[in-house]
Structures are given as structure tokens and as C-alpha cells.
Amino acid sequence: MRREGPVIFAALAGLAVVICRFFSTQALKAVKDELDQWYLICTAFMVLVGLINLTRVHLKKVSQKKEGWGYSVVLLAGMYWFVLFGLMRGSLGDPQYAWMFNTFPAPLGATMFALLAFYIASASYRSFRVRTAEATVLLVSAVLIMLGSVPVGKLIWSQLPGIRDWMLSNPNTAGLRGIQLGACVGGMATALRILVGLERGHLGGDV
């Protein structure tokens, strides 16, 4: 039962959602509403799981004085300060909490993303080489898209923005549509395998 129980529960819950999607009765609607509520509660709980896991990992790092343990102290202090302050004072509706958010996570998050520009500049310089026919196509596409996306592209060649739009609307769309169809078919196959209990990776451990 230890092995079969979770599999049966997952299968029943999944089947219930699928059936509720295709048939509409009061009883089925009540079941769906209840499952949705459980989903929302579990989603919120996942934040707690993440908090516990981060605490466990970084406390271990601090206790063992591993390389970079000072950053772990900063992370734990900042994380719990935000959590406790938010629980006591409320979230972004509180002016002090809003100040903390505007001063620390918001600019730091934007900075982290901005750093990508430098990595992309270096990576594109090193990787876009005309070694093969495919690499040449990739290089030419990348250059056309990069220049066509910015105002200076039109100054270099008036057709560049149009070429960029054509590339995004045609070869890109065709390729991605194929990928998305394949991903959907793969997703359906995986879902069916989970429903009939053939796929058990989501249960973890040695179930």
C-alpha cells in the first residue's frame, strides 16, 4: 500500500480533473472546486518548503565554514528579516516594507539580469564563427535580428527591420510551432503515463 497508495491517489486526482474538464455537472464542479483549492494551498505551501530547504542548505554551509559561508549568513539574515517583518507589518502595502523592497531586491534583481548583457556579448563573440554551414546560418540570422531590432539597423539598411519581422513571423514561427506541437504530444503521453501509474518519478524516493 505504501507504493500503490500514492499512485492510486495521483491517478484518481488526475482523472477527476480530466473528467471535470469534459463534463459539467454540479457534483463534478464541486469536486473540481475542491481539487483547485487543494492545489492553491499546496502552491502556497511550496514556498514554505523552499524556505526550509534554503535554511537547511545554508545553515550547513555556515556550520561547516565552507567557502562563501559569509554570503550564506547574509542570505539567511535577509531572508528571515523580510519574512518576519512582513508577517509583523504586512507586505508591500506597508511603507517601510515597500522601502526595503525598493531598496534591496528590486534593484538587485534588475542588476542580475543586466549582467547578462556582458556574458552575451562575450559568448556571442566567441561562439558565432563560420565553422560550418549551419553555424553560418545561425551567425547571419543573429546579426540580422540584432540589427533589425534596434533603430540603428534602419540607418544601416532600410530593409533590416522588415527582414527581422519576416524571420520572426516565418521560419521562426514554423520551427517553434513544430517544437510546441511535439512538446504537447510529449506532455500528453507523460500525463497518461502518470495517470495509469507507469511514471512514478514525481513520487520521489524508492516508490
Binding site: L40, L92, A114, A121, V150, L168
Partner: protein
């Protein structure tokens, strides 16, 4: 090492330094390159423009501080457009920082529209967990799904606008600001395709290729593509802002990357098949 061998292996600190110096210079002394409007951005503008005055539109801020540079200007421009047309705006989000991003936009846009009142013309319901399940539940019962309180902790009972919004069917248009998952595909699956609600979006530049199939199929009417799209929308609402200012810097950055790519490839082609000078 010959010059062309060196050209293939430029120290990464050189492009890093040039990038930061040029971008900083251009931001301080902009060139003022003209921003052209493309058809897909125009389609998004037209989609919002034809919504009748007094209608409710739903804005979904599904991005965080990391995508703020690209999408916050778009959200401000769209809110300006909506308020200028006399539309009433309710903003929510499936991302945890979405409420804060909407608050940033509101605090800036309200200065240009002092007659707009919170609770009457605009409500920020903030982030609510659940992703696509949240959307499904808003379709059924918005107040129950959104837990009856807004981003600032006010009850919906205190906000007259919310008495007219019971479900997504009460929104005449949905405009999403998306940078990943959950995002536009959830809206299309759960809301806009089943209920036939007009739908436009602003997306980060890296997300644009993946969203283009939905623009082409007509499931999404218009798309603001990265900071370029935000700049175009700022021009359309006649309020150039940070996105327009950033396009000069983005132009220089892209040009610099292309120059380095060309240098690297000229070096590669010049030395292909030849023994390195150090081995000669």
C-alpha cells in the same frame, strides 16, 4: 601570435569595458535615433484603442524586477493609453512581484491623471498564487479567487470598481506583461480563447520568438517586443520615457556586439588552414 590570431581571442575585459563605457555615455548624451512603429506593436495599440470608454480592462503584471527595464515602461504606457481613453483598469498577476511592479506604474502614471481615483478607476489586486488554476477560478468567481483583498490589504467591499468585476467576462480586454511561466499561454488556454476576450501582451525580447506563433494565429492581437516594443508604445501614446531613452543604448550595444563578431570571424577566416605563427 599574429594580429588575426589575436583578433579571435580578445580578452573579454575589452568588450566588457567598451560596452559599459559606451552605454553609460549614450545614456548621458542620447543620440535621439527615431523609433519606428512596427505592425505588431500597432496591432496591440489598436486592440486597446477600440475598447469603448468606461469599459474594464484587466492588466496582468507577470514579471519581476529582473524584467522591469523592458516591461515596466510598457505597463506605464498601456496604463496611460487606457486612462486617456476613459477605461477602468484592474491589475493583477501570477508572479509574486507583479503587484509591486503595478504599484510602481500607478505611482508614476497617476501624476498625469490626477482625476483618476484608486478604487473607482483603478485597482491593484496584486499577486495571488495558483497560476493557471487562479485564472480558471477568476473565470468562475473573481472575488473568491482573488481572496477579496487588494495589494494594499483593502477589502473589495471598499473598492467600487470591484463590484462591477465578478469574472473575467466583465473585462473587455486583457493585456499581459509577461516574462516567462506562468504567462501568456495560460491566459490563452484558460481565458481568452474559451471566452473570446481580446488579448494583447508585452514580452521580454527573449520570449518573443516563442510567442510569435500565437500572434500569427490570431490568438494574440499584437505584441510589444522587449524594450523596443515598449519604446514604440511610448511613442504611440506621445509620452517618450525610459524605453525610448534606452533604445539608443541598445543600438550601440548591438552594434558593438556585431562588430566584435565580425572581427572574430575575419580573424578566423584569415587564419583558417594556416599554422599558428607560434608553431611555424
Amino acid at each position: 601570435m599574429s594580429f588575426w590570431e589575436k583578433a579571435q581571442n580578445i580578452d573579454r575585459r575589452v568588450p566588457y569595458t567598451l560596452l559599459i563605457v559606451l552605454i553609460a555615455y549614450i545614456l548621458i548624451r542620447p543620440i535621439g535615433l527615431a523609433v519606428e512603429i512596427n505592425a505588431i506593436t500597432q496591432a496591440a495599440y489598436n486592440n486597446l484603442d477600440k475598447v469603448p470608454a468606461g469599459s474594464i480592462v484587466w492588466l496582468s503584471a507577470d514579471y519581476g524586477a529582473s524584467s522591469m527595464t523592458e516591461l515596466l515602461p510598457a505597463q506605464k504606457a498601456v496604463m496611460r493609453h487606457a486612462f486617456g481613453k476613459g477605461l477602468r483598469v484592474i491589475a493583477g498577476g501570477m508572479w509574486d512581484e507583479g503587484g509591486a511592479m503595478t504599484d510602481y506604474a500607478w505611482q508614476d502614471v497617476r501624476k498625469d491623471f490626477p482625476e483618476k481615483k484608486y478604487g473607482v478607476d483603478f485597482v491593484n489586486v496584486g499577486y495571488k498564487p495558483g497560476g493557471k488554476v487562479l485564472l480558471e477560478r477568476i473565470v468562475a468567481d473573481a472575488h473568491q479567487a482573488l481572496q477579496g483583498i487588494d495589494f494594499y490589504g483593502k477589502s473589495f467591499a471598499e473598492l467600487p470598481l470591484m463590484s462591477e468585476f465578478k469574472t473575467f467576462k466583465d473585462a473587455k480586454l486583457i493585456f499581459e506583461f509577461t516574462s516567462g511561466t506562468p504567462g501568456e499561454q495560460d491566459y490563452m488556454k484558460m481565458v481568452t480563447d474559451p471566452l473570446k476576450i481580446p488579448f494583447s501582451a508585452a514580452a521580454t525580447a527573449v520570449s518573443v520568438p516563442g510567442i510569435m506563433p500565437f500572434v500569427q494565429s490570431g490568438q494574440m492581437q499584437g505584441l510589444l517586443q522587449g524594450m523596443s516594443g515598449s519604446a514604440q508604445y511610448e511613442v504611440l501614446v506621445k509620452k517618450p520615457g525610459p524605453a525610448v531613452a534606452g533604445m539608443d543604448a541598445q543600438s550601440v550595444a548591438h552594434l558593438l556586439m556585431v562588430v566584435f563578431i565580425l572581427i572574430g570571424n575575419i580573424g578566423y577566416l584569415s587564419t583558417r588552414g594556416k599554422k599558428p605563427q607560434s608553431q611555424a
